[in-house]
Amino acid sequence: MSLDKKRSIKQQRAIRLTLSYLVIGLVSLIIIYPLVWTVGASLNPGNSLLSSSIIPKNMSFEHYQDLFNGKVDYLNWYYNSMKISFSTMVLTLIFVSFTAYSFSRFRFVGRNNGLMLFLLLQMIPQFSALIAIFVLSQMLGLVNSHLALILIYVGGMIPMNTYLMKGFIDAIPRDLDESARMDGAGHFRIFIEIILPLSKPIIAVIALFSFTGPLGDFILSTTILRTPDQFTLPIGLYNLVAQKMGASYTTYAAGAVLIAVPVALLYLWLQKFFVSGLTAGGTKG
């Protein structure tokens, strides 16, 4: 290889990398700007989000204090939300992995219809039937209970995530099951000892979905939860700004910053699972 060619390759590389860094820098800026702005808003005195400066002139922690000094029931909302999100996550994982494993590995009567049903159900918005959901929880005596809400979230999570996970398990070679079966393992043992460990990446994804899903919902939850002591973060915070009179966007921002932190941490914790390899899903062309 001539020296010129080597240099030009080197140059090309440098250009490519510089351009890449530029793009990445720009995207990072676009991502971070609104987030920093939220933090800025939470430190602004007054009630409005429309404050003109990202770095407030007279920084104030009053909104954070408001969250904890009993002015709003923030800690309670936080506890409720974490409880609901965590339970939803655990239950979703159990049910989804059961259904996904069955749909992926077994051929049984009703399988195709079931799959089709799951596909269609995920497309019809659950909250188009708010009244029905309320009436149902009333008939079961579960109005205003977190259990009802959790079950509703879990039900809503099942179709789509079953689909995702089934796709993933489909790609795990069946030879693994077969050899385990030779060794005398039953279906359930194969599921627990072979399929689940190999499905970690998709499990991480579904865990995230089902944990963060309830944190973004204030429609279903307002229908089921009727008293302030049962409220979740989204309802509580949304109420802060939904009142047409005297809405406090800045307290809202403070509350929002404090939710974003654990969710972001959860993500960082789970990220290594699915970035480290959607092995099975990725390579089987």
Binding site: N47, S48, L50, R226, A242, M245, A247
Partner: protein, 404 residues
């Protein structure tokens, strides 16, 4: 014998014990952050009548909607709070039951507030608060409130980049109605007896068009920024005023506390005169306590509301929450008479028009608000926009009356 008497004693003990513990319970929904205003009254009522009163706070505008589900589910309240403009809809659906008041008791309240809670000749609630729009002005910028809207406009013109004179959310009928009404606009026509005629909508008559066309000049000349359109507009207005970038805003009594907290040196005045010399009116909103159809103890609920609405408690309520009770004795009390803010509201209330409380009212808001936004922003000509809105309201009312 001995044994028997023991049993008898035990029985009497249990009976008396159960009569102590089977205390009656009333569930009350109060407006958000307002329950402190009735805390004293409740404590006294509980003591006097040996009743347990549970208070829950939730946003007042959503309580009827909540009651629709909670009532039949058996977790609803006995007493709740409701704005009078929802009265018609609530009565049509049978969500609340009428209350009984002697003429003497009625006389305790201002007449307009009693009227606001009357539907089909029956009284359905106990008025709690009257609210209407007033002018908030920054005393550091405007020493004395102006007489006319034109003067505000002139003042607005003198403001430099980023600062504003008068700002108001005229793209909502609640705020624009005062101007329209001063020129002869109205929502529903009324007969001599005060009954509404829903086929006669006066939101697009010549007067309304003239008024909105005048308001449009504020937007055309950039005196009111277009950023106040839409759902977050009120927030924008609040922040401009609290950041001292707007010299005056038209707003309701709910703005008082946040403005005080923000440290603005402001005064409150009745609304100014329109260019035709007539004073801007406003819509009178009344919130009141109503009694749920599902209440297990409506008599006690009635007794309760009457009790907490006594003049002495209404006065305490005003002192703690700054809400003006339509109780004649309190309005004439120096505590309100000498209060600049409260007296401004009281003065404005005299020219204010009660919000129609018929169920058809719920078909009015969306179309007319859209039309105002379209007209003021120049997306559609004012007349056309208001006409479209009127037609839409008419057709919706007709469609739903025919049981679509």
């Amino acid at each position: 014998m001995n044994k028997l008497s023991k049993i008898a004693l035990a029985c009497t003990l249990t009976l008396s014990a159960s009569s102590v513990f089977a205390q009656e319970v009333l569930n009350v929904w109060e407006d958000i952050q307002k329950s402190k205003g009735i805390a004293q009254a409740i404590a006294d009522f509980e003591k006097e009548f040996d009743v347990k009163v549970n208070v829950l706070e939730s946003p007042y505008a959503g309580q009827i909607e909540k009651l629709r589900l909670d009532g039949p589910a058996g977790i609803g309240p006995d007493v709740l709070i409701m704005p009078s403009d929802q009265l018609g809809a609530a009565v049509v659906q049978g969500l609340i039951s009428p209350v009984t008041m002697t003429d003497e008791q009625k006389a305790q309240y201002t007449q307009s507030s009693i009227q606001a809670f009357t539907a089909d000749g029956e009284l359905y609630g106990y008025p709690k608060v009257v609210e209407t729009l007033v002018m908030f002005y920054n005393k550091d910028k405007i020493a004395q409130p102006f007489e006319t809207l034109d003067q505000y406009k002139q003042y607005s013109k003198s403001q430099k980049e980023g600062n504003f004179g008068l700002i108001a959310k005229f793209d909502q009928v609640y705020y624009a109605f005062g101007a329209m009404n001063a020129y002869g606009g109205y929502i529903f026509g009324q007969d001599d007896k005060g009954n509404y005629n829903v086929e006669d909508i006066g939101l697009s008559n010549a007067g309304s068009v003239e008024a909105v066309t005048y308001l449009k000049t504020f937007f055309d000349e950039g005196l009111i920024p277009s950023g106040i359109y839409g759902d977050n507009g009120l927030n924008a207005i609040d922040s401009l005023f609290t950041e001292q970038k707007a010299a005056a805003v038209i707003n309701g009594p709910w703005a008082l506390e946040p403005y005080q907290r923000a440290g603005v040196n402001f005064g409150v005045a009745p609304l100014p005169k329109m260019p035709n010399g007539k004073a801007m009116t406003s819509l009178l909103g009344v919130k009141g306590y109503v009694i749920s159809s599902w209440s297990k103890n409506p008599e006690l609920a009635n007794k309760f509301v009457q009790y907490i609405n006594q003049a002495k408690y209404a006065k305490i309520r005003f002192e703690t929450t700054k809400e003006i009770p339509p109780v004649v004795e309190v309005i004439n009390d120096p505590i309100i008479k000498d209060n600049e803010f409260a007296s401004a509201i009281a003065t404005q209330s005299q020219v204010a028009v009660p919000m129609p409380s018929i169920p058809e009212m719920s078909e009015v808001w969306n179309p007319i608000n859209s039309a105002l936004q379209l007209g003021l922003s120049g997306k559609q000509d004012v007349k056309g926009a208001l006409n479209d809105a009127t037609n839409q309201i008419n057709s919706q009312i007709e469609a739903f009356r025919s049981g679509l």
